[in-house]
């Protein structure tokens, strides 16, 4: 039973981790806490659905279209809202992304309606049984993609010039600029990659739930918590945080109360934060006076 809950927890956790990765990436490089991250994924799921059902595009192509569209959307959001308020406080930037969140929500509702829609997935979804542990294949795909994407990101940051430039920008924006890094382009790249990550999360989640403008709300909240738990700013922290929250809420659901599992997840986070105010992997914040 515990193994069962662990596996479903890890699968849910992978989704949180994917979304959290996008959040952390944006925060690390541009100092923005992006409330709209979840809704990027929601938009991607709807775009993919539209491509499949209305334009009869094959699934893989539709997914690619959705990912690219969302990446572009994220870059546009950065250009139109975040970039013009470059010197604003973190609070203003957060509230600005809240505005973007509301707009995306309203636009999605206006275009695609508020009634829920099923998402067709070509991936087989029958549960498989391994040593008595029954796992939905949808969950397995999420785990697999979560792992692949983390690996790709690792390689990207470790071995490519763009990845190095991004790390440099996150470390010290001014120094990176002096070293010839085009910081403006790095910002666009950051938002684009985060948008793409959100798109993958949205499309992976879509077959498991019904599509609606609200579909990512729960994931966003958990991803947010995951990022915080991991110490907002650490990519491995986001992954560990996401998996941890997924497992913790499933175990709480099993042993304490199904209805109160979100509550327990958050109580846990507040406790962790009370002990370590910048998360488990977070560095101590040194404020300049």
């Amino acid at each position: 039973m515990i193994a069962q809950q662990m596996v479903s927890g890890l699968a849910a956790g992978s989704l949180y981790a994917l979304t959290a990765l996008g959040l952390v990436l944006i925060f690390k490089n541009t100092d923005v806490v992006n409330f709209a991250q979840g809704d990027f994924g929601m938009v991607a799921a709807f775009v993919a659905l539209m491509a499949i059902s209305q334009f009869k595009v094959p699934f893989v192509l539709a997914t690619l279209v959705a990912i690219v569209t969302t990446a572009i959307l994220a870059v546009v959001v950065d250009r139109l809202t975040i970039r013009p308020m470059k010197n604003a406080s973190m609070l203003s930037l957060m509230i600005a992304t809240l505005g973007v969140y509301m707009i995306l929500h309203g636009v999605a509702g206006a275009i695609w309606g508020r009634d829920t829609k099923a998402f067709p997935s070509p991936l087989p979804s029958d549960p498989v049984s391994v040593n008595g542990v029954v796992i939905g294949q949808g969950h397995l795909w999420i785990l697999a993609f979560g792992f692949i994407i983390s690996a790709v990101l690792f390689v990207f940051f470790r071995y490519t010039t763009a990845g190095l430039a991004m790390r440099a920008t996150a470390e010290d924006r001014m120094a990176a600029r002096l070293m010839g890094v085009n910081v403006s382009r790095i910002f666009a790249l950051t938002w684009g990659v985060s948008g793409a990550l959100a798109a993958v999360a949205g499309i992976l989640l879509a077959p498991l739930v019904y599509l609606s403008p609200n579909m990512m709300s729960d994931v966003l909240v958990k991803a947010y918590a995951a990022a915080v738990l991991g110490g907002f700013g650490s990519l491995p922290g986001a992954i560990v945080g996401g998996l941890f929250i997924g497992v913790a809420e499933n175990l709480a659901g099993e042993f304490i109360s199904t209805e109160l599992r979100t509550t327990f997840a958050f109580v846990l986070i507040v406790v962790v934060l009370a002990v370590r105010p910048t998360g488990v992997f977070g560095r101590r914040i040194q404020a300049k006076v």
Partner: protein
């Protein structure tokens, strides 16, 4: 906070006159909306104390509203407490929870703090959903009509009561925020380190801001319960918390006037749009962005500048200066540094005492 000038408040007089006489001429529904506006104004004052003045973002104020609403409703229905007692206890209960939340929040800031408050709001909603003994389960919780001194209040007299409470709470907020306490809040918002170096106790004033903010919202919750007279946990969801945050940014952060405008805005716009829920979302989001990008200080600061322009106190060029620059810090206007609001010399500026 824009510099306080008496003529800024003059326009409140016609507003009050309208508010006092309007219910006599309109439907009960308009009276209901007017009461709701007053309640939102109290919430806006509360959240502004925490977010606008002290700079602590809360995405969980619906939780405080729920605590206030259910405390008052339970006291009235189970113990037969008078309505005003329910309201005061609701404020206190919410204030205590705010104080308790303020303790772990002491060490948190930015994203960490907003996660903690977000979690708090979600937790309150979820706990209420699962505590049938408090929330009445699926049937929800009905609240009787409020009565004062043996008289059951009808919609119109209840509105006058709510209006009176709102005015008292606004004046209370004004006087507290213009005292050393308010200046300590602002100092902490602008720089925790500098404020502490000036002798301001971070622990005391941050928890005080949380407590006050929660107290205001709890009072509003009690008024809300007796207004809608039916409570369901789902009504106190994350969106409501986001609405609360939105309204103070649009109305004006760190401004009592801004709280009033924000409350009016947040009740009126969705009502006018009615069924067009999506359009309401888009408009609110766009309004947020427009305020952040082009109207530092929200609608209240914009109106003050407009009024100054009309009365000839400022030139158009001054305004351009304010508007053209995207703001550096929320609710922090160039005007603020002027000394129009300066306390008399010799007063205790920041509440620092020799010990």
């Amino acid at each position: 906070m824009t510099a306080f000038r008496l003529h800024h408040l003059l326009w409140l007089v016609p507003l009050l006159v309208v508010l006092v006489f309007l219910p006599s001429f309109t439907t009960t529904f308009i009276t209901y909306l007017l009461s709701l506006i007053c309640i939102y104004v109290i919430v806006a004052l509360g959240i502004n104390i925490l977010t606008g003045y002290t700079g602590q973002m809360s995405v969980g104020h619906a939780g405080f509203l729920a605590i206030g609403a259910y405390t008052s409703a339970r006291l009235i229905t189970d113990l037969g407490a008078p309505f005003w007692v329910g309201m005061l206890v609701a404020g206190l209960a919410s204030g205590i929870v705010g104080f308790l939340l303020g303790i772990p929040a002491l060490r948190l800031s930015g994203a960490y703090l907003s996660t903690a408050t977000l979690g708090f709001g979600l937790a309150v909603e979820q706990i209420l959903q699962n505590m049938d003994s408090v929330s009445g389960g699926r049937a929800g919780l009905s609240v009787p009509k409020p009565s004062l001194a043996g008289f059951v209040l009808d919609d119109r007299s209840y509105f006058y009561f709510v209006l009176a409470v709102t005015i008292v709470m606004s004046l209370l907020a004004l006087s507290i925020l213009r005292s050393s306490v308010g200046r300590a809040f602002i100092a902490l918002r602008d720089s925790e380190i500098a404020a502490q170096a000036m002798g301001i106790s971070l622990a005391r004033y941050k928890t005080l801001a949380f407590t006050m903010s929660a107290f205001y919202t709890g009072i509003a919750g009690a008024l809300f319960a007796s207004l809608v007279r039916f409570l369901a946990p789902e009504n106190f969801n994350m969106w409501l918390s986001i609405d609360f945050l939105t309204m103070i940014v649009i109305g004006g952060l760190a401004s009592v006037l801004g709280s009033v405008i924000g409350g009016i805005f947040m009740v009126t716009v969705p009502y006018v749009l009615g069924e067009l829920q999506d359009l309401s979302f888009i408009l609110m989001g766009a309004a947020l962005l427009v305020v952040l990008l082009f109207m530092p200080g929200g609608i209240s600061a914009f109106l003050s500048r407009l009024l100054d322009l009309v009365t000839g106190r400022t030139t158009a060029k001054d305004i351009e200066q304010h508007v053209a620059k995207p703001m550096g810090q929320l609710g922090r206007l160039p005007e603020q540094s002027q000394s129009a609001n300066a306390p008399a010399s010799g007063t205790d500026l920041l509440g620092v005492k020799e010990s």
